[in-house]
């Protein structure tokens, strides 16, 4: 890893990466994909490796990251949350209307988080107590939440009139890093700590790895499943208000790209859809891959339609690779 051109901070960053990747060897794959993609776009476009562009990328990735963090726990359980894009839309629409009607200012953050958590808990409760696959539950609520949101918006984009709110997303406490990216990185650090250092985090792995074992060992499985969905909703709510603050309005297309992008980021990061392996630390890498891919392809002038093809293929390929790895473990 010693290169004559790298500066001191770069080498120490690399050393830190290496420590992390040594702890979990399979981390090398997403890390090298991030590096390879960055190198490719830096060489093939003039504008990718500019501060201006990277600031824009981090702003775009911020919403995706914060929304994916909670959903990672749901995937870790072996379940799936298809409705987070719809939660983002509904929370965004309701928040904007409430904000314009009452002028509660920053308290809207609490409202958004609470509404998100409630919507997520609804998913979780139906899933757990109705014994319906989470895929079906969240596919249904995806439609319900979207429908309610579009009724609130009446099909139009609604701007908010409290301009101070903007600062929470596009202000820059750290130069060149939009606040939305800063908050999402802090949220990431907190969620990684939750996953590795708390009972809740451990239970996510255990329930995903062996639900029957969890049950016969006295783990309150149902309760923790509901918690995971509520957390997923809560973080989607927070992500929603940050996205609205960044865009200046809530429109019908808010969150529409999150359905594929969130699952893509989680899976590409290396959290298995089968549950029990992976974790939120990996989701950061997945989000980077998806965000860089989106941005780079845009800069190269690749059409939206082709981008859809590429991203879909990336998701399927990521699942294929992770399955290969699982098989390898079993054979050994």
């Amino acid at each position: 890893m010693s290169s004559i051109t790298t500066s001191a901070p770069a080498t120490s960053a690399l050393a830190g990466l290496k420590r992390l990747a040594d702890a979990d060897k399979s981390l090398w794959l997403p890390i090298s994909v991030v590096i390879a993609l960055s190198a490719f776009f830096a060489v093939s476009t003039d504008s990718f490796a500019t501060v201006r562009n990277l600031t824009a990328v981090s702003g775009q990735a911020g919403t995706l990251l914060i929304v994916c963090l909670g959903a990672t726990f749901v995937v870790l359980l072996g379940s799936i949350d298809l409705s987070i894009g719809a939660i983002v839309l509904l929370v965004g629409a309701a928040s904007v209307v409430l904000l314009n009607a009452t002028g509660i200012g920053f308290a809207i953050l609490i409202f958004a988080a609470a509404l998100g958590a409630i919507l997520g808990a609804v998913n979780g409760l139906i899933y757990v107590f109705g014994r319906i696959p989470s895929f079906v539950v969240t596919l249904g609520t995806l439609s319900v939440f979207t429908g309610i949101a579009l009724q609130i918006l009446d099909g139009r984009a609604i701007e908010y009139n409290d301009f101070a709110l903007e600062a929470i997303s596009i202000g820059q406490i750290v130069p060149h890093l939009p606040n939305i990216a800063l908050w999402s990185l802090l949220a990431w650090a907190a969620v990684v700590a939750v996953a590795s250092r708390t009972r809740f985090g451990r239970y996510m792995y255990i329930i995903g790895g062996g639900e029957a074992v969890a049950r016969t060992s006295g783990v309150p499985v149902k309760r923790h499943k509901v918690y995971a969905f509520a957390l997923s909703g809560l973080l989607a709510g927070v992500g929603s208000i940050l996205a609205v603050a960044r865009l200046g309005a809530a429109g019908p297309s808010l969150g529409s790209d999150l359905l594929l992008n969130s699952l893509a980021a989680i899976v590409v990061g290396g959290t298995s859809l089968a549950g029990g392996t992976g974790g939120p630390h990996r989701t950061l890498l997945g989000v980077l891959i998806i965000a860089i891919l989106d941005n780079g392809l845009n800069l190269m002038g690749v059409s939206q339609y082709t981008q859809m093809v590429v991203k879909g293929a990336v998701v399927v390929a990521a699942v294929l690779i992770s399955q290969e790895r699982l098989k390898a473990v079993i054979i050994k």
């Binding site: 250092r197 708390t198 451990r202 255990i206 029957a212 074992v213 006295g218």
Partner: protein, 560 residues
């Protein structure tokens, strides 16, 4: 690897005359050097045997001796790591059960493999559907029904093949399954000399159905060869020509049924007479009459599983529960542990206060539960030893009040038990799938030993565990009772049941039918316990699944 040599051109040709008295023809199936290992444990080691044409060969052995693995290899479900098989003179290595079926082998599985929501006739022709295809895609149902009716008529079972399979009770479904395995190859596929594998076919049958089953076997012997597995040695001796004894994956004896008896077979199976020291019987605690209760259960019921169960386990006592597979003893264990909450009744632990029968609550009050299915419910194979041990501690020991996980305590705990129980992983970070069955089971035990237990429920704690680890597990159980923990032991292994328990309850169809004291100096005999487990043929409400047979098959004395 022996080259595949053809013994004879036809299984029926009278090329070889009967040898050793009982055999009527050349070998239908010859296996040599069969070996299978799962990870570190060798489940079959260089096993070779012969099945004579038109004869019945039995395999006997304790649980985990390798009988089911052997049948899995023959039926193409498991691939051997070494060895050759010849079937009717040709090399035989099926890639799946479908291929085995097409080569003339069929099997009655230990667990029922009938599909419940389709008509009986579809189950009877399952795997042979292609004989009923018209223009490839359409199925000739009328021909199917006709073939199915021939099978049930030949087997002498009274069922309407057009009815849904789940309209019949367990015993009758078992009869249907046996009829399918025995007769479908002959009547549908037209195989002249099929081989039928019977894996514990009679464990779910009532006594009168059993007699009909034996009559069917004797009819089948006219054209088929059979491999039979059963724990009931009387049955084995009554229907077999030849008996092979498996022990810990090795073939330890090959006897003609006429040359041996039950006691002899039993001695060969366990490799010893019931050895008191193996179960540490001297360490069995003699309880004071006023010993405090560790668990009391009153009127526990769950419909279709168990009914009005009342029992007490005292501190330091091992209470065993025995019974047939369908006796409801495992379901009772799940109920008492609160894994599946019972519908009625009361459970109290050491403090005597009734508790909600939910495992999350019971675990925090000092209950532990070791399930029978180790790989499905006992351990998470892809997780480390340390994680598997700490699973049950999340509610109290392993996490602080606000839910911070105690990673350091987890590592030291795992370290301690890896050493104390000699878990052969060496390291707490070892992945459990790499451990042998015995070591995996020690990990499950460590999960509960690391907690402050007052009662431990064990469901078949030594299933699929090698002999050495078994003895260590028995040692752990005695250590727990020394510390005043009550043990509720549910097991299919009779010797274990007798050897470990202070008292034994026998369950039959969901009810406790007997309580047998088992003090160290006066252990009950296996025979007596077995007699209590079996349904009495004159008991009310038993409808014979078979039509009455005119000549009843001799059960107790061997066929001449």
């Amino acid at each position: 690897m022996a080259p595949a040599v053809s013994f004879s051109s036809s299984a029926f040709g009278p090329i070889m005359t009967a040898h050793r008295g009982d055999f009527t023809g050349p070998a239908a199936l010859v296996a040599r050097g069969l070996t299978k290992r799962y990870g570190a444990s060798l489940v079959l080691n260089d096993v070779g045997f012969e099945v004579g044409a038109k004869s019945v060969v039995s395999f006997v052995g304790e649980n985990g001796a390798g009988k089911s693995t052997l049948l899995n290899i023959l039926s193409g479900i498991v691939r051997p790591d070494g060895g050759t098989v010849e079937f009717n003179g040709r090399p035989y290595l099926p890639a799946g059960y479908g291929e085995a079926l097409s080569l003339g082998l069929s099997r009655v599985f230990q667990e029922q493999s009938l599909i419940p929501n389709i008509p009986v006739y579809e189950n009877l022709v399952l795997g042979h559907e292609h004989y009923f295809d018209r223009i490839r895609q359409f199925v000739d149902h009328r021909a199917m029904i006709a073939a199915a009716e021939r099978i049930v008529a030949e087997a002498g079972i009274d069922v309407d093949v057009r009815r849904r399979t789940d309209a019949y009770d367990f015993s009758k479904r078992q009869s249907i399954e046996i009829a399918r395995a025995c007769l479908a190859p002959l009547l549908i596929a037209g195989q002249a000399s099929p081989l039928v594998l019977l894996d514990e076919p009679t464990s779910a049958l009532d006594r009168r159905d059993e007699e009909a089953f034996f009559a069917l076997v004797s009819r089948l012997k006219a054209f088929a060869s059979l491999i039979f597995i059963s724990h009931r040695l009387t049955e084995v001796l009554a229907i077999s020509d030849r008996v092979y004894v498996l022990k810990d994956g090795e073939l330890v004896a090959d006897r003609l049924a006429s040359d041996t008896d039950e006691a002899g077979l039993h001695g060969l199976m366990v490799g010893r007479e019931r050895d008191a020291d193996y179960y540490h019987e001297r360490r069995q605690r003699v309880l004071a009459p006023a010993a405090p209760a560790a668990l009391s259960v009153r009127g526990l019921s769950s419909s279709g599983e168990y009914e009005s169960i009342t029992l007490t386990v005292h501190a330091g006592e091992v209470v065993g529960i025995g019974g047939l597979l369908d006796s409801g003893k495992s379901a009772l264990g799940r109920g008492v542990a609160g894994v599946e909450a019972p519908e009625a009744g009361e459970i109290a632990l050491a403090d005597g206060q009734p508790v909600r029968p939910k495992i999350t609550d019971l675990v925090r009050k000092g209950l532990g539960y070791v399930p029978a299915e180790r790989l499905a419910e006992g351990i998470i194979p892809s997780f480390s030893v340390a994680w598997n041990i700490s699973v049950a501690g999340g509610g109290d020991v392993m996490a602080s009040r606000i839910g911070i996980w105690r990673n350091r305590l987890e590592t030291t705990t795992a370290d301690r038990f890896v050493r104390e129980l000699a878990i052969a992983s060496g390291a707490p970070r070892q992945i459990c799938s790499r451990l042998s069955g015995g070591n995996q089971q020690k990990v499950v035990l460590a999960r509960w030993l690391s907690r402050n237990l007052s009662i431990l429920i064990l469901d078949n704690p030594t299933r699929g565990v090698d002999a050495g680890a078994k003895e260590e597990i028995y040692g752990v159980i005695r250590r727990l009772t020394d510390a005043g923990v009550g043990i509720l032991l549910i097991t299919d292994e009779l010797l274990e049941l007798i050897g470990l328990s202070n008292r034994v309850f026998i369950m039959l169809r969901g009810k406790i039918v007997a309580e047998v004291p088992a003090p160290a100096e006066n252990k009950p005999a296996e025979r007596d316990l077995v007699a209590l487990m079996l349904p009495q043929s004159d008991s009310a409400g038993v409808v014979p699944a078979f039509k009455p047979v005119t000549e009843s098959f001799p059960l107790t004395e061997k066929a001449a």
